[in-house]
């Protein structure tokens, strides 16, 4: 899936330079058959290899990951969970609850209060675990 897409991109860029599989292979230092496998996506490409290939093709490695999707600007990004929204392409490191928690926590500017919240939370957990 991923490797296939990247393979296609390799092929595309290679051809745009008018290079044969053999020529690219030589630059990278592997067999042209292996290049074939990369392009077909039948072999997993390691990050190192992709970097070598990038170099050999004279493009930045990030070229292989772009899909023409615009990268949202900082000001566009909101840390908010939207129930029923489109499934998020990427996995969210923090779930809804955790995000809510963080946002609330960040609202308290007072250091003592924050510390108090943590202490209290510890207490709650202790209580629960005892039961």
């Amino acid at each position: 899936m991923t490797d296939k897409k990247i393979g296609q991109k390799i092929k595309q860029i290679r051809k745009s330079w008018g290079l044969s599989q053999s020529e690219l292979a030589e630059r990278v230092g592997i067999s042209f058959q292996q290049i074939q496998k990369y392009e077909k996506g039948s072999t997993r490409i390691s990050v190192m290899r992709l970097q070598q290939i990038s170099k050999a093709l004279g493009v930045n490695i990030s070229a292989f990951f772009e899909e023409g999707q615009r990268i949202p600007k900082v000001s566009d990004i909101a840390l908010r969970y939207i129930p029923g929204g489109d499934p998020l392409e990427t996995f969210q490191p923090l779930n809804k609850e955790e995000i809510t928690l963080l946002k609330l926590f960040r609202k308290t500017k007072n250091k003592k209060v924050r510390e108090g919240i943590l202490m209290q939370l510890r207490g709650v957990i202790e209580l629960i675990n005892q039961k």
Copy 2:
């Protein structure tokens, strides 16, 4: 060389979210020992894996290729784009206090309790702001 740098980045970002190796491993679907190898750089990371890891960490894959060990910027963090949503003025990576908070919060497996904590937190903040 390359893998080592990327490994360090994985570790750095993982920690910035307050995740353990096991937690990350679970999200990616591999053993935590393998995550260790990635972080140590003793195993070559395939592009696919790195993409999975990127997702699990909620950052764009390109974050791993940029030079310098900078902390991920907002633009690296893959969150949902919300037209007209609250712009996130100051999303710093989680600081130590916040990581502590998160870890504590994650310890409470009971849903009701978690909800209670949030409600209470809301109450506290309301109180403070009134004063």
